[in-house]
Subunit: 372 residues, 2 copies
Amino acid sequence: MKVSIERAALLKAVSQAQSVVERRNTIPILANVLIEAADDTVTFRATDLDIEVVDKAPAKVERAGATTVPAVTLHEIVRKLPDGALVSLTEEGSSGRLTVEAGRSNFSLATLPKEDFPVMASSEYTANFSAPAPVLRRLFDKSKFAISTEETRYYLNGVYMHVSDADGGKVLRCVATDGHRLARIDAELPEGATEMPGVIVPRKTVGELRKLLDDDDAQIAVSVSETKVRFATPAITLTSKVIDGTFPDYTRVIPQGNNRKMEVDAADFARAVDRVATVSSERSRAVKLSLDEDRLILSVNAPDSGAAEEELAVAYGDERLEIGFNAKYLLEIASQVDRENAVFLFNSAADPTLMREGNDQSAVYVVMPMRV
Amino acid sequence: MKVSIERAALLKAVSQAQSVVERRNTIPILANVLIEAADDTVTFRATDLDIEVVDKAPAKVERAGATTVPAVTLHEIVRKLPDGALVSLTEEGSSGRLTVEAGRSNFSLATLPKEDFPVMASSEYTANFSAPAPVLRRLFDKSKFAISTEETRYYLNGVYMHVSDADGGKVLRCVATDGHRLARIDAELPEGATEMPGVIVPRKTVGELRKLLDDDDAQIAVSVSETKVRFATPAITLTSKVIDGTFPDYTRVIPQGNNRKMEVDAADFARAVDRVATVSSERSRAVKLSLDEDRLILSVNAPDSGAAEEELAVAYGDERLEIGFNAKYLLEIASQVDRENAVFLFNSAADPTLMREGNDQSAVYVVMPMRV
């Protein structure tokens, strides 16, 4: 193998690949990136056996070939090379080394045989569709905070992406929950997605996927089967196993009858929650919301360290209500609101509370109360 | 006590105070800041028993008084209050609570009696002088990287500030070393400093002091005794015990006869060292410098992972030399160079190497070689 490649293109390709590689590997080959050169293109492939990412970069290929080198080391080297450098990657078949050269810098990296690199089995996808990057970004960005970290409830360790019925017809929906709070985000159903099976996209995949979605103009090719999901741009293909489990019936969790409505400036609300929570050092800090006509009092009482109280003007016309929440959950939900106003719908102090942005039904959040 | 104070002034004063407070305290009062209000000034005092910081802020004092509250909580609250807010601090004598109010926010913090707060014993200082902030900043910034972290060699856990003889007469000198490398930085001797005893300023004090030195126009009042050192601006006074030990005779460590001179662009050198060190994952990464006429080859050989080599144009007219160094130490020393060129003076592969900036003798670094 002998190729020349622009440092910037190489860095971009290797960055995405090395981020999939797990830092602590018991299987040496999994720390490596598979480099394949052919037809003016170099392909970089990395995997943790659950996720596989394939990056393509244009290059001048003098001699085709393939090998594997440690992903993190290669990334570090390329990152430290001067901007604008032309990098050559050379492997003599028998040496067991890949030479990385740029200007007066010369590196030689230990290789492992390309035959040992585990390539993910290809899959028959039952649905293929295309979605604009900003649409997928919104679906995952607004739901991922609610992903559970409890390993015993593995079926909650991801975002449930599926097709669902909403008021306006079928939608592409992402749901995440950890049992304490839930996020349900809808988007217009892309053409070709109707037959998509519902899949639970693991947390790590959601994180890796995020890097493909920065370009507002990009169209993402999405393929889904019962066991795998694939997201692709022209340069990058991310394939991931999905969580083998059944996502619980979340619809029962979303309250329908909540009709005590409070409307509040989302940023003001988040800042006030953040401030009153300061006085308590406990992990599960409870904030009490006391609602009266057009007035919200947020309060925290921590007998050892102190107390805090803050008043906010809100739109609320129902009877008096006192309800408590975990401060962290309230903050996270309030910070999902892009528009000015957050709308809270309460039932009683013991029932789940619903939150949405203005009258928008396409992003709905549920949070369980806490006794205060 | 009842005072009103601008949020910005309060934040600045409390910031410096809370940073001295240790996060894990077994003695509750040490987590607190002592607030004293009198004569249009509020004083904030915090200590870890080794360092005491006193911050003054202008305020409207309606009722004088003093109390103590948790420093970190107070700081968090003030930080989260909106910019421009006017904050009132009120304590009713018997309540055991300090009320912090701003706009519609109201906090009540548990207090501890002011009598319990340990105030550092005052000291007779044997030398008092004044030094511009940039001079002190240079003395400590350029030496602190070499402070030892080995607790058994406690007398190396700080910067040795003392008066010394140099070519041009007496100087104010800061020295730090961990046995592997050494930094010796000189500045013009301020008036009144001649009689100053040499003191070892602890690492934490050096860190806290740094925050007083950002203002280029500030004059810092420095007072030194055998056991204490004090640095003061009009608003902040930082008093610290010094390390009770004898700093070793560092002069013997500084080589005098090194005459194999290499001159190199400091930034190029640092980047090259950084790059070649990438291939080795070991903690004590050895970089080999191979010198020939006007040519330096930096190389690293890590049998398991690979090898790296980089060539640099340097000014060197002496005979061939091969010498190894810890990559981290070389990097740290090279990054101290503000000017373009770093001058290295070698003797042999087994002897300490000296580094300075151009012909400037006021900042000298020594680094021990490593066998490669």
